[in-house]
Assembly symmetry: C2
Homo-oligomer: 142 residues x 2
DNA sequence: CTCTTAATGAAAAGTTTTTTCAATAACAGA
DNA sequence: TCTGTTATTGAAAAAACTTTTCATTAAGAG
């Protein structure tokens, strides 16, 4: 659901003039296989199973590129801001507190809210981040 | 607007059994005088003007307490998640990209959005974070 | 004013992230 | 397919951020 579309990412990478290196492809693969928010350290851990030489520095660098290209976004929660999840059209995340799965959700009605805020404050709003925490259906029983 | 109500914070601190020490009062004062999100390092800088002996450790510890008491909240933006701003009734921030001023805004209509998300995803939603970035009226001219 | 003990600051350790740089590998062109 | 250029890599070190430890200090109850 909320995993990275690796194929698209690879194309975009090439398109933007980046080389398609093993380490980069590895990071993309890891993000594609995972629908939870992953910390760089975790990306490294899984990535090493695919590309043993992968280094943490490269994980950081690749996450940076994927973020700039819009394929990945940082997950912010109260105590930590170090996880990354795949990014789609909108920037709204719903994070399961138990299994840490991250899904993006269709967000209708937020525009209205933003309009009101704009009217009341006089601010021009250029970006927004809506992040929800809760329990996914699978974790609710436990 | 979005600065800390120092008096209330002091009362709450005492209420909760904390001692009213110079360093703590200093941190509260700094947050009260500031309507921008401040990093611990910045709180220290300003705080030292009031209490020369103030240490970064104590800034961290006091921010922690004020966060638990609900007077302060962490600000998350794309690149950094290290700033703290005063927290009021709701948890919605509007941050000026230019002057970094932080205001909380009255947020009506979000409940409806959350209801819809709940219905569509089956998730139980326990917390939410809505953070907006933009330009405050004063910075729009520049 | 005194005593108890929470709180402090300094130092050190622990995390997370970035920079530097020599070696390597991607890939454009022969 | 081979070769040369150069972007990319990994290791090490540095930087940035945060927490822990502990002896000393000061808040505030009595």
């Amino acid at each position: 659901m909320s995993t990275l579309d690796g194929e698209k990412a690879v194309l975009a990478l090439r398109e933007a003039g980046y080389r398609l290196t093993q380490p980069r492809l590895t990071v993309i693969q890891v993000l594609q296989d995972n629908d939870a928010g992953l910390k760089p350290e975790e990306v490294l851990k899984y990535g090493r199973m695919i590309c043993a030489s992968l280094s943490l520095v490269t994980v950081y660098r690749t996450l940076e590129i994927l973020t700039q290209l819009g394929f990945v976004k940082r997950i912010h929660s109260e105590r930590s801001c170090h996880s990354y999840a795949s990014a789609g059209l909108d920037w709204h995340y719903l994070i399961c507190q138990r299994c840490h799965r991250v899904i993006e959700f269709p967000c209708t009605g937020l525009e209205t809210v933003l309009e009101q805020v704009k009217a009341q404050t006089g601010y021009i709003i250029t970006q927004h981040l809506l992040e929800l925490d809760g329990l996914c259906p699978a974790c609710q029983g436990k």
